[in-house]
Amino acid sequence: MNEKAPKNPSMDSLEKQIDAWRAHLTKSRAISGSDVRELEDHLREQIASLTAQGLSEDEAFLVAVKRMGAIDDLTREFAREHSERLWKQLVLSREGGDRGTESAATNGSRKMWVAIGLAVLAGIAIKIPALFGMPFAENKSEAFYQLNMGFFILPFIAAYFALDRPLPKSATLWLAAVFVLSAIVVNAFPFYPTRGAHTHFLTSLHLPIALWLGVGMAYVGGRWRGNDRRMDFVRFTGELFIYCVLIALGGGVLTALTIQLFKAIGINVEPLAQNWIVPCGIAGAAVIAMWLVEAKQSVIENMAPVLTRIFAPLFGLMLITFVMTMVLTGRGIGADREILIAFDLLLVVVFGLLLYSISARDFLAPPGLFDWIQLILVVTALVVDVLALWAIATRISEFGFTPNRVAALGENIVLLINLAVSVVLYARFVRGGVAFSRLCNWQTFYLYVFAAWAAVVAFIFPLIFGFV
């Protein structure tokens, strides 16, 4: 490789010029790494031939680049020929020859097999209780699966990261201990009635949220410090959610078609579908979705921020209209039983919109129109929520403190604090007061608060309210 060893300063500058030219070409998605290498070989040969004819290296470089053609034209020509490259493709394991190295390719396929293996294990794990008289699709085991669903999925996702990152041994043991202990504790809770206890429902709902922080622990490889990694985990969570929804839609179609097709030949596979396809599908699909999000990372545009861009202005508009209608008609917020849940959901949605627009934003970009839209959205949501809280607070004594209401109220306050601080930071950022990263740090810090609150509801509430 003689060109790697510059003999004189001009040779050095030629290398620099070629580097710059190559870097420019590499930016185009239509031109692959191997194409760039091919073109570079051409350029070098052309330069060698021109210098042999007596041109200086600088001149030769300029002529050779000119003959190669303008980069824009080249890109267009390549794009016409390789239009498929403009559609980012999810290449699972055979990419090897082109972009990555051989070992990267085998590494990719190894990861795929690990993920498939874990998905199969999750599918098997969810069938084990059936051996002990707890079939998935029966009323008597409904409460059991509600409470334990997380334990059939989350440990396998955490295991993937523990193997992949890899997680230090002590952290792995600690994480395993958390999963095992929580499983023992919540199953030991004497919920009453065994079906339909409020605290049972609350624990089922909040336990996976609390345990998700454990998955995050594995995701960042035990290195919680550093907001960037935590933000990656936030992004991962959003994408995983979207993939799970998409896979669930596909799974629903598959299951429905299976049942219908077998019905056509007079065989009823519905019990089979409900006891095998659905549970194994849910457990396995969640693990596979996790791996897809991991594998596609830079390949496909993240969907969560795209959805955010679409819906943030729409939700903002809806909320402003709502507030204006309230003011113009003079109607107050009725303090119904379900009203608090509705406002919790509103805050969750607004929080999600805020979080995922933050996660996708360029930290260094100056404030723009979308930041204002986001700010207006969060402010109106806060105003609406405070009005709702006011209405509820005036009549809270009438309701009494049932576990559901305390949980809903707590959620509302947890989200309200997050959004209120976000608004302050966001407003200061838009006016140029603080860096955008302050807002990110606040959100990544708040992951702890969410997990802590979820853990309180999942583990402490049943004790406080006597497992009703």
Partner: protein, 126 residues
């Protein structure tokens, strides 16, 4: 004299296939051969050759392989396939037919075309 872009594009396939039919080659050498053959009249922008090569490769007319050149650099070599040779024969037949047709009409026009390459004088309308 420069040749119309459409003509350059249309002739690129038979030209590249024919050059590869002479023997395996790579991008820079193919372009050099095109210049030699056309006496410098057929000018390609160098970079544009590669999308053509990739298109032919995708169509299965040629195949490629990375190898180490004498310079020590990695280089992508191209070789014509059986399908490529068939396609070349077909292209050749088509170009001959176009050429024959044009020759026929050229000979009819030859009287009004001055032999030293000057343009045909425009007819005078009175």
């Amino acid at each position: 004299m420069s040749i119309n872009k459409d003509l350059v594009a249309a002739s690129s396939t038979p030209l590249v296939l024919a050059i590869l039919a002479e023997g395996d080659s790579y991008g820079y050498a193919i372009l050099k051969r095109v210049r030699e053959l056309s006496g410098g009249e057929l000018e390609w922008t160098d970079g544009m050759l590669y999308p053509v090569l990739h298109r032919l490769e995708r169509a299965g007319h040629i195949e490629s392989q990375w190898d180490t050149a004498e310079s020590g650099r990695r280089r992508k070599y191209y070789r014509i396939t059986e399908a490529g040779r068939k396609h070349l024969t077909d292209e050749r037949r088509q170009w001959k037919s176009v050429d024959k047709t044009l020759r026929n009409i050229w000979s009819g026009l030859s009287e009004s075309t001055s032999s030293d390459g000057h343009p045909i004088p425009l007819p005078q309308w009175s």
